[in-house]
Subunit: 345 residues, 2 copies
DNA sequence: GTGAAAGCGCTAACAG
DNA sequence: CTGTTAGCGCTTTCAC
């Protein structure tokens, strides 16, 4: 049996109240002499206040949860989630909070696991790239649970959200292709549940529109999460007759770009000679690709640290309305892009 | 104020005991009719048992902590720690335990943070690659805290430990170099605090010895954690006069190998033409290097899952003596090795 | 300045 | 089969 506050009280001949006030250095004063005596006993017996008992009283655990989507088999081993978690830990460590990981559950399970998230184990939650319409998030929020989402915008939900400027990023990179002379550009959209992905499509369409370029409806393709499907879809677009084949591929994120490049190369096409490919996120592997990928950098680590910070502010009551933070992005030009071989028609 | 068990009891006209027995489905039976009534009320009020109150009674949190060394700036973004954490989460998810992350503290802070680790917040701890002689681990163990170490052997400490067979791995890869005709081989040792690193040196020396080869004392070099220092040290060895220069470099782990290759290339030397380089761990980046790295694969994900499993068994009392698990390794031959240009002397 | 005592929300004897 | 009650280890009123 571990040593408890009561033992300390008895051993130092004071009341439990006094011991408590010594430990917490307040809220009521303790005579220096008494204080020292108590502290000595505490040190001697190696006493450590019990976390559960404390949370029970204080209703605070100094812990928050990070919830990852189930679609990702190994979040920590993933070029997107790793920097996100790193940023979260940056903020958590700075504010001496502990992080609990929730992973390996599907969002449907998650809906069923509202309980798990409302048993007081955590003071709040960070949801990483949840579906935009997640009933779970909505319900937790109604519950009074503090929630901030990363990489998904809040829409009508009044919960905190931190994301980067997807529309602008997508416009930037599309414009850069247009400036290089591309006219026939395809968009490979990702899974459409988070808000980020559709926003990137919006940016693409906007850039094309602004440039007065027609967007061929069958050049805007959902490729989903499955890289196999992505591979096939890409091959199909790139297999179109020359007159209809795009000279550049805007991919909703780097992983799609990776697969798209492989698909192009499997067709004997050269990147960027025959087709330019661009990504989004600037994940760590993109500079090792051959050719290194032109992409949009989003400050994932800073962004997620900001999300954690917002959550903690919410918990601490430093702010009371969750807000929506949008981080700026910038172009990273590498070698997967070049002017098209022949200016399109 | 959240709804509590007492509310449920009152609302369904039974005692708190009965509600508790309904929730936990035992240990004492409840009349089906009563049970159903209670369950309905629970559902209606959206009641959720409070985790702190439960841990206070049960002395179990169903949570364990993972402690990362401070030397690593961003553990999750690190090719070694990412698969380790993934393995841990595999096991944790399978056994419905929650994982808490402890990072960003130095080992000295850690020594001072015994308290944090003994406040009952976690049922046990996994230490990832701690220093072999960590006083913290020893003290926690004496404390009765369940601890398992990953990537460090226990030595005289009677705590659980899971590692791979470093000696054998190092022998394997050194032998493969010898078989290719290398005679003058240098060893770049890592930081020497964990047990893995010295063991790899042992394997190297053993292999050399078995082959009847002399090991030049100044070809066994500690290069530490700092990649700058590692770079310089490597340049120095490779800058030796041809008669004393090694034709192959055995690196204590892949990150050293990466730096060593850069150092060699910075000297205008070709890998493997002028010097063969081998690593250890088979981290994900090694196949993207140019040339792709010959290395020793250790099953990090499986290994750390086993460590988590052992910890949970210890906690659950399924086993009572922590043991030492050693995982097998195997050679991964890629292109950073070749026979030496001229057979040595 | 300090002590006694009442809970926080739950579980598990102990009684019927 | 169910209710009463005494804690788990802590914080914080009340009283003095």
């Amino acid at each position: 049996m571990a040593v408890t506050l009561k033992h300390i009280a008895k051993a130092s001949g004071v009341s439990t109240a006094t011991v408590s006030y010594v430990i917490n250095d307040g809220p009521r004063p303790v005579l220096p002499a008494t204080r020292e005596r108590v502290q000595r006993v505490i040190a001697e017996l190696g006493y450590q206040p019990n976390a559960a008992a404390r949370s029970l009283m204080r209703k605070r655990t100094h812990t928050f949860g990070v919830v990852f989507p189930h679609v990702v088999e190994a979040p920590m081993d993933n070029a997107y989630f790793a920097p996100v978690l790193t940023g979260i830990l940056d903020a958590a460590t700075a504010r001496r909070q502990i992080v609990m990981l929730f992973t390996g559950m599907s969002w449907e399970d998650a809906e069923r696991s509202v309980p798990l998230f409302s048993d007081g184990r955590c003071d709040g939650f960070l949801f990483v790239a949840p579906p935009a319409n997640s009933g779970l998030v909505a319900r937790l929020h109604k519950n009074g649970t503090k929630v901030v989402m990363i990489g998904t915008r809040a829409l009508e939900l009044p919960v905190g959200a931190v994301d980067s400027d997807n529309v602008r990023g997508s416009m930037l990179i599309t414009q850069s292709l247009i400036e290089q002379g591309h006219r026939k550009i395809a968009m490979l959209q990702g899974h459409l549940t988070s808000t980020s992905t559709p926003e990137r499509t919006v940016g693409f369409l906007k850039a094309m529109n602004d440039a007065g370029l027609q967007v061929d409806a069958d050049l805007v393709l959902p490729v989903g999460y499955d890289s196999k499907q992505c591979f096939e879809t890409t091959r199909k677009v790139l297999g179109l007759p020359e007159s209809r084949r795009p000279t550049a591929l805007v991919c909703a994120h780097d992983s799609i770009a990776l697969t798209a490049m492989e698909a192009a190369q499997s067709l004997g096409l050269e990147v960027p000679g025959d087709v330019s490919v661009v990504g989004f996120d600037n994940l760590s592997f993109t500079q090792q690709l051959s050719p290194p990928l032109t992409t949009v950098e989003q400050p994932l680590r800073k962004l997620s640290a900001a999300a954690a910070s917002m959550l903690l502010d919410l918990i601490d009551g430093l702010i009371d309305k969750p807000s929506e933070l949008l981080f700026d992005v910038h172009l990273v030009v590498r070698s997967s892009t070049s002017p098209p071989r022949r200016a399109a028609e």
